[in-house]
Symmetry: C2
Subunit: 769 residues, 2 copies
């Protein structure tokens, strides 16, 4: 048992935890006590190792206490159920904005307040759980901001509640902080990372921004001198370019292209020469400065992301090294510590209970190519990455019909049918049918021929799915990675149900539900998207887009946080300034959005009344419009010219910073995609699969930019094959982290452990941006 204790000490030594050191001593004393204790100990070790491995696998960086209870609590903390619950409560907390004043659906104050209280209690419980998991001193150092958030929320609720009880008006200012929950929870690592990279890029962006503002000020001054004395008037009859601040704002808006060419027309109408001023302005500020912003944001984003990934990979290796320390055995004095196959496979079973035995043995044979039965540290450390590679185990099951009635299924006509369905022409035929369907959809619905044709197309599509199911093994057909099969089936079945419901409604009551009809229409059109899948080159682009989808979700969260904050502030500032009257309303205020200040303005004339901050949904839609083009005249007119500051700030935050980071991310993802080589590790698994002759059509996999299962299915017919095949899952299903890591992996040395350094480097989430 020497090595066991040895590695225990080793492990505890890394933790520098006195409490555990005494425990180790105790373990030493009880060494030969009984088998039960030993089993228990073994179990604890396995727990600890599996926690390290799954932390490494999912890049969780939590410095947890390594006592057995804490480890068990930590495993519970990472349970997906608790995480989903947390996210649901965050969602509930955020969606309270729908029911609070100004509400979409007003609820009494006590109801929203008690729901919010419940949410805070849940978050607090999660925080207490977290406190139990990590060492006490670490806890008090870090998550102070999170509890501060709760204290502020409770304080605000108290103040607001008492103000309302006294019939005073109050402001629920803590609502602004709500989306920060998304950032500050343990699971918000990627979001924190995104915020960090923005913060790191800020000094550089600020520099360019100051220069950009300087340029706008210089142009504004020039415009003031050139145009103010000419007595020009805008289309609205207002004096043109006479107020310096107004000019600055107008020229800034011109950069967003929202008021082009209106802002230029009065000067241009007075003399063509003045167009030179605007041409130079647009060239310098719209094209050059905006490109420079993108360049600066992109460059900084890339630089800091690289650093983050480097630390992430270091931390991952460090965690794997710790797991190794827990499991290692020394075969003799001076020999390198190793992990046996037995312990390794127990570990893998714990970390990923879902993977098959065959898959596990495949991974082992990658780690231990020389079949020594034990693996060293270097081979062990790559396990986290190996587990992240999705290897699909393809079971060669015969078709169920073949089992039921082999004579019929293997008969000549049945085989002919199979070969027809698998023929390239079958796909082309259905693409043509889809195109015909598109034409029919575009034609007038009123024509009975057209509306009845829908039934024909539905039947044809159903037939197609049934034929495919006849030929392919159903469980294979609906396996997790067959995106387009799922897509097809769901759309067709949903369309069938919706069409039947619609007809039933129509024939029973003679009344067509608009909602049902809308759904039917949308489903019909969505069916057409399938055409893209049958053109290889399109599929490659689409798959790249689908693959960067999860990463785009991170940006979705980022945008959500920023939009939410701006929506809350905007609602406090501009609520009720602009009123929307329904299209059927006869109110005379309708033509000026319920605010006399808007009489005869472009805002009212364009019918923008629904672009307001009166409730949270409208605010979000308005903010989206502001992201596209900056239209805010209505709000500065109805409140104060200083209201423009809000819109300027929004533009700077969202368009100049976040959208540019988004573009930078898409650019980087596509560049990674274009340099098609797969990562080394993936190659090692593939090589092993090929070596063992268990691969699925390797040459086909390499042809496509993206290896999708669909190509394989058609080969999956009633031919003789080994019963079990492996295949590297399409890269589209890999995690976002893997994609980002792969972006910069080439720069990292695989041998780089450097434990002394990493030991300090990996810490709990800091909980502040």
């Amino acid at each position: 048992h020497t090595y066991r204790n040895n590695n225990h000490t080793n492990n505890k030594h890394i933790n520098n935890n006195t409490h555990n050191n005494t425990k180790t001593n105790k373990n030493k004393d009880n060494d030969n006590d009984n088998d039960d204790n030993k089993n228990n100990d073994n179990d604890n070790d396995d727990n600890l190792a599996s926690v390290f491995v799954s932390d490494a696998q999912f890049n969780r960086n939590i410095f947890f206490d390594s006592s057995p209870q804490a480890v068990r609590l930590y495993m519970l903390y990472n349970h997906w159920g608790l995480q989903v619950t947390l996210y649901i409560f965050i969602l509930v907390d955020l969606s309270l904005a729908l029911f609070e004043e100004p509400a979409v659906l007003p609820l009494p104050l006590w109801a929203t307040m008690s729901v919010e209280l419940l949410c805070v209690v849940v978050f607090m419980a999660r925080l207490v759980h977290y406190a139990k998991v990590i060492p006490r001193d670490k806890f008090w150092k870090d998550p102070k901001n999170l509890s501060l958030l709760f204290q502020l929320t409770l304080l605000d609720m108290l103040i607001y509640g008492s103000l309302r009880a006294l019939d005073c008006s109050g402001v629920r200012w803590s609502r602004v902080f709500r989306p920060l929950l998304l950032v500050n929870i343990t699971e918000g690592r990627r979001l924190r990372q995104a915020f960090r990279s923005i913060r790191n890029a800020l000094p550089q962006i600020l520099l360019v921004f100051l220069l950009f503002i300087f340029s706008i000020l210089i142009f504004s001054l020039m415009a003031l001198k050139l145009f103010s004395k000419r007595g020009l008037r805008t289309t609205d009859g207002a004096p043109y370019f006479t107020n310096f601040l107004q000019i600055v704002f107008d020229l800034y808006v011109l950069v967003t292209t929202a008021n082009s060419p209106d802002v230029m027309m009065p000067a241009y109408n007075s003399s063509s020469i003045f167009s030179i001023f605007f041409i130079i302005f647009i060239l310098v500020n719209v094209y050059i400065f905006m490109s420079v912003f993108l360049a600066v944001v992109y460059n900084n984003y890339k630089k800091h992301l690289k650093e983050e990934v480097r630390q992430l990979v270091r931390a991952k290796r460090h965690k794997m090294a710790r797991a190794f320390a827990v499991l290692q055995q020394k075969s003799g004095e001076g020999a390198e510590p190793v992990v046996t196959h037995d312990r390794w496979s127990r570990l893998v079973r714990r970390v990923r209970p879902d993977i098959s035995h065959a898959h596990k043995e495949l991974l082992w044979s990658v780690c231990d190519p020389e079949e020594k039965g034990v693996i060293g540290k270097l081979a062990f450390v790559q396990l986290a990455d190996l587990l992240n590679i999705e290897v699909i185990t393809v079971k060669q099951r015969p078709h169920p019909l073949q089992n039921l009635c082999p004579a019929l299924y293997l008969s000549k006509p049945s085989r002919l049918l199979s070969s027809i369905v698998q023929h390239r022409g079958f796909v082309i035929l259905f693409d043509l049918i889809i195109l015909a369907n598109a034409v029919f959809i575009a034609l007038d619905e009123e024509n009975p021929l057209i509306s009845n044709s829908e039934w024909f197309f539905l039947v044809v599509y159903l037939l197609e799915i049934l034929l495919k199911l006849y030929v392919h093994e159903p469980r294979g057909f609906f396996s997790r990675h067959n995106f387009w099969n799922w897509f097809d089936t769901i759309i067709v079945v949903a369309a069938l149900i919706a069409t039947i419901v619609n007809s039933a409604l129509k024939s029973s009551s003679g009344y067509t539900s608009r909602q049902v009809l809308d759904i039917v229409f949308i489903l019909r059109v969505l069916r057409l998207i399938r055409v893209v899948d049958s053109i290889d080159r399109f599929r490659a682009i689409i798959n790249t887009l689908i693959r960067i989808g999860p990463a785009i979700l991170t940006f979705g969260q980022l945008i959500l946080v920023v939009y939410y904050i701006f929506a809350m502030v905007g609602m406090e500032l501009f609520q009720g300034r602009v009123q929307f009257f329904g299209p059927d309303s006869e109110a005379p205020e309708r033509v000026y959005c319920g605010n006399p200040l808007l009489k005869d303005t472009a805002f009212a004339r364009h019918n923008y009344c629904k672009n307001n901050f009166n409730q949270v949904v409208a605010s979000f839609v308005l903010l989206l419009e502001l992201t596209v083009v900056n239209q805010c005249s209505g709000f500065s007119l109805t409140t104060h010219p200083a209201a423009r500051l809000y819109f300027l700030l929004f533009h700077i935050t969202v368009v100049i910073i976040i959208i540019n980071i988004f573009v930078a991310f898409v650019l980087e993802a596509f560049f990674v995609e274009y340099s098609v080589e797969k990562s080394d590790l993936q190659n090692s698994v593939e090589k092993k699969i090929e070596e063992l002759q268990l691969g699925v059509k390797q040459e086909k996999l390499e042809q496509n930019l993206v290896n999708s299962m669909e190509t394989m299915d058609s080969e999956n017919g009633p031919k003789k094959r080994p019963a079990l095949l492996f295949k590297i899952a399409s890269r589209r299903y890999r995690t976002v982290d893997a994609l980002i890591q792969r972006m910069f992996e080439n720069d990292l040395n695989p041998e780089d452990f450097n434990e002394d350094e990493t030991n300090g480097n990996f810490s709990n989430p800091t909980f502040n941006l």
Copy 2:
């Protein structure tokens, strides 16, 4: 003389030119004829070598005949005077559009026709000159398109002239081809390269574009089904989303953000749910697809540029190798051929007569670090790059006043003044004065205090320049690389002159010229820009922008070509459809731009009448506006809905392709800038300068992102120094080619000659896109 003939044969062998081979034989026969002949021969060799070197230096790839007469003609062909003349005539040819129908300044047909004829004759002469320079067979293979251009032009002129003589109307269709001259002349290499990289990126762009169009079609179909039956109306009262083609166009324009949020308002007003449709549309088509376009364009641009640069570098090395072959001497049998210092320096004197003897010796000591007196091929080949590095020879001249009156200039008060002017506080003081000036400019001009303050500021600025001239040596102060000194002086002197003229006009006739006043205002504001230069971090950004300026000019030409073609087509299609009536016009047609079809449209209401195709200047301004946002409703209304195709095509060409390439270029240039390391070759020169202890404050040079001369000037005072110093010129003055080559230089092996391959690789410009 063995080696001489040897290399002659070698050289001619490369040319594979039988004509020259016979000449070589003749040379051999006349070997010992007389000294005169030999001198002549020597001269011819020097000519040939210098032509190769300057071709390599400026990356000219013309396969010229190497006979002495042809070489001399070729040197004439490359003479800057002829090139400038050519560009002037191209400019004249292009600007004919100002005077032809529809004209800004109408000229009679015979005048424009004869000018155009003159231009064609000049171009033909240049072509004939070119034909004399290159081998006949090469000529007939290549520039057929260019002469085709002339034939078409002449044909068109003939047809149009005779039609007009018969009082028929004709179309000057050959005007569309005029800008192609810019592309097809020998000097248009960079422009051809830009067009080539666009053409190479086209297949990839097309693929994404098809997918993008597919997405728009799907969304349009969905919009048709969802909205057409709802009876919605736009703000103009027109039915909303009922015509499929109209929907497609509206949604395409939404991608350009021109009609956001107007296109969404009717649906959004009818139900908030419909905003989801537009949000998804904007997300997919505006943000994701536009980013993908940028990614595809950027990636392809980079890839093909890399290939181009690789070929360029190969061709350059090949040309240098040929120059070496001409000049080489063998010191013995089996020894490596070398070039002596004597021949080398004769060559450099021919190629760059402007550089000083000291500079030449510096270059030689870089090539021949071991002072052997001869250099081999590898050292010789880098000469082209060495010549491109601008080394500034700083002459330590004493101040002229010191010569005139040393006692006074070196007296204590004078030295105190010098140290004050060179103090950091002096710069800060003048920055504060400039800021105060900015405030005064913004204030009202009518106030006599304010308008008189202008004189004070002018005097202060003049005083500053005079003080600086007192301290710094004037020739050093106004040396070629001191951008900001030049800028300051020109602006201040021009402002002084303009202000004096203005005052003189005012006092003599009591009348202020608006034009003069405008110039005064602009100059005043421009003076403020100087502030940027005194903040180091801003200067770095500005200098990067100035450095990529010349490359941006290539894009300027590209834009000019595309705009010109679109303007010519647009003028034929839409001329006279929209009329502009001056602001003082009382014509009733004014409110609807002279076209009853535009009555009560947004186009007329916004006063866009001057946005028309009635003459070439207005067309260019309109096309610029279309580049920013796509406003074209007026033209489809007054002609035919199909007119939108023109605007779609323009958007695809300019915004999706060219602007993206422009952004890609700026991104790439900034990334190169951020990876600050200098190219190896530049380092070798710098190292040598340092070795010889002739460097100018090396440590200061490395601190700044961009090494500008200004920092040095302040040190250039009356201290003891070596009489001659060298300095690598600020990188901003390097050629565009150098910048582009540097982008990809790291991937190229400096030893890679591979003459067999390059021999075929480098060819005459192909003259077709």
